[in-house]
């Protein structure tokens, strides 16, 4: 009887989810199986079924795999650094050693309100040798050079997201009842020891959550490098996988771009899913 209401609750979201999530995924897969063929040099263009031809091109596309390697290197360095800082700041805020917790929590969180595009524009100016407030530094080190620009972008992403991740971990710390620490403190455990042996294991689910979001975010990098193309010629039109999708679709070669999209989405899905499963198994064993 009461279940009669279920469609009213589920259908509005369901319809939109099908129309703007499932259908596009299906459509991308279909498009990626087609190719454009031209009969003769000046003949009419038509779309024909190409099987896995586009995927073969994806797997032979050097720049695409280079871009995946680039975001992989980025992720291996930037994600642990960012989450490490976020964890340390959350633990410090929770340690009772900090006066003005409210202020610091807000100050660290503010950059999250700034969209990636705007943050990248700001930092682009800050890195530039002529305009930067850190002129002595930026004139000695070229943050926009081919060697460094990836890490300059990593700094922008870190700047935006540390506070957000810190807040997730800090919220999880606040949810732990203080009696848990009291016993350890009675036994003479110091702050450091309590943080390492009690707090970190307790907030592990929050750390896993932030890691998954960071992995997804890293593979999707687009806005920041796209903005940096105006500041540095080292950022090419295939610098990240998503930039490759965008520049391939602007050629336009929609079939190949669709194949890139599918491969990227699958990679993202498999990586984040595998990470979730791996951490779940480990916590089940403990």
């Amino acid at each position: 009887m009461k279940n009669r209401a279920v469609p009213i609750f589920v259908v509005p979201f369901g319809v939109l989810f099908i129309a703007f999530y499932l259908v596009p995924i299906g459509y991308a897969v279909v498009q990626s199986l087609y190719k454009v063929e031209r009969s003769g040099t000046f003949g009419p263009v038509r779309e024909v079924f190409g099987g896995l031809d586009q995927y073969q091109r994806v797997f032979q596309d050097g720049p695409f795999w280079a871009s995946l390697g680039r975001v992989a290197a980025f992720g291996v360095v930037q994600v642990p650094v960012m989450l490490g800082i976020a964890l340390i700041l959350a633990l410090l805020l929770d340690s009772g050693l900090v006066k003005g917790r409210r202020f610091f929590r807000l100050a660290f969180f503010v950059p999250y309100a700034i969209p990636g595009v705007i943050a990248a524009i700001m930092w682009g100016f800050l890195y530039s040798p002529n305009l930067s407030p850190l002129k002595p530094v930026t004139s000695a080190i070229d943050f926009l050079s081919a060697d460094l620009v990836l890490w300059s972008i990593a700094n922008v992403v870190t700047w935006v997201y540390v506070g957000y991740n810190m807040l997730i971990i800090y919220s999880a710390l606040l949810a732990v009842p203080t009696e848990v620490y009291e016993a350890a403190r009675m036994d003479g455990a110091g702050q450091f020891r309590i943080a390492w042996s009690i707090k970190i294991p307790l907030v592990l689910p929050a750390i896993v959550l932030t890691t998954v979001f960071s992995i997804i975010g890293t593979l999707q990098l687009l806005a920041e490098p796209q903005v940096f193309r105006s500041f540095s010629s080292a950022v090419t039109s295939t610098y990240t996988p998503n930039l490759t999708v965008y520049s391939t679709s602007s050629i336009p070669n929609f079939n190949l771009a669709a194949a890139f999209s599918v491969v990227l989405a699958l990679t993202t899905f498999v990586l984040s899913f595998a990470f979730l499963k791996a951490t779940q198994r480990r916590s089940a064993e403990q």
Partner: protein
């Protein structure tokens, strides 16, 4: 005592790191073009902020204001409506037992792991086929869907809406939908604000969809608008000042809203992460 001094020093350094770029933007927005390059970047010269804003909002028939309004419509509208839809679906998943419930939940959960950027290109192709690619709806409608919101709503509904209360409402003769809107949403309200904020930021940050979808600059959200100006700075140097002031104006409402709604982030995120 020593450790307290050390900790406060770390906190101070981090505060400088996080806030100095915003301070620089604010100071930069108060300068005219000569002062921007010729005076100390971290301190004020003559205060030109009002003139700069006037120039920005009148430039090319006030296109910047239009971008701001577009952003509010895309982001605010999609987040508001999207939150209601996600809340309804998540609530049903938490509070009713029906066939296909687990399947539905698993499909939605997989949707969380599918990055929104992977959808941008096929969405463009579909909207082009329908002749609707370069329209408001092409960006707005896809932005309504928020699988992560459904996931959070399910957790929050299970945690904050007691069965007994729903039973009591049923005995009183209140319909299921009415109970949801009058009783359950009230209990879930802090959680709904969290979902709204998450959704808001996701739409606000989704750059690829409008980039691929829109060619008419009068439909741009402010991020895309400022991005296109920034790409032209080398050819049109006076745009640099406009980009700086525009960046400041575009982040101000969001920063203020964030600070005001901050406690919802904390509460909601805590519940979402512990489960």
């Amino acid at each position: 005592m020593k450790s307290r001094v050390g900790v406060m020093a770390v906190m101070g350094l981090c505060t400088i790191y996080f806030l100095a770029p915003i301070w620089w933007l604010f100071v930069g927005a108060t300068k005219n073009n000569d002062q921007f390059t010729g005076t100390a970047p971290m301190w004020f010269a003559d205060f030109h902020l009002v003139d700069n804003i006037r120039e920005l909002v009148t430039y090319r028939d006030g296109v910047f204001l239009r971008w701001m309004l577009n952003s509010i419509a895309y982001t605010g509208g999609a987040a508001l409506l999207g939150t209601v839809l996600a809340a309804m679906c998540g609530y049903a998943l938490a509070k009713y037992r029906f066939r296909g419930r687990e399947l539905l939940f698993n499909i939605v959960l997989s949707g969380v792991l599918v990055p929104a950027t992977a959808l941008a290109l096929p969405l463009f192709l579909i909207f082009s086929k329908a002749g609707a690619a370069n329209t408001f709806w092409a960006v707005f409608l896809p932005s309504l869907v928020n699988p992560f919101g459904v996931y959070l709503a399910r957790i929050y509904a299970a945690a904050s809406v007691p069965e007994e209360l729903l039973e009591a409402a049923r005995i009183d003769g209140s319909g299921e939908v009415r109970t949801f809107f009058t009783v359950s949403t009230r209990l879930m309200f802090p959680a709904l604000v969290t979902i709204f904020l998450f959704h808001f930021v996701a739409v606000w940050n989704n750059f690829l969809l409008p980039l691929i979808m829109l060619s008419d600059e009068r439909l741009f959200p402010v991020t895309l608008g400022l991005y296109t100006w920034n790409t032209q700075v080398n050819q049109v140097p006076e745009l640099r000042g406009l980009v700086i002031v525009g960046a400041l104006l575009s982040i101000t409402p969001l920063v203020v809203a964030f600070l005001l709604l901050q406690r919802f982030w904390r509460n909601g995120l805590g519940a979402g992460a512990v489960k």
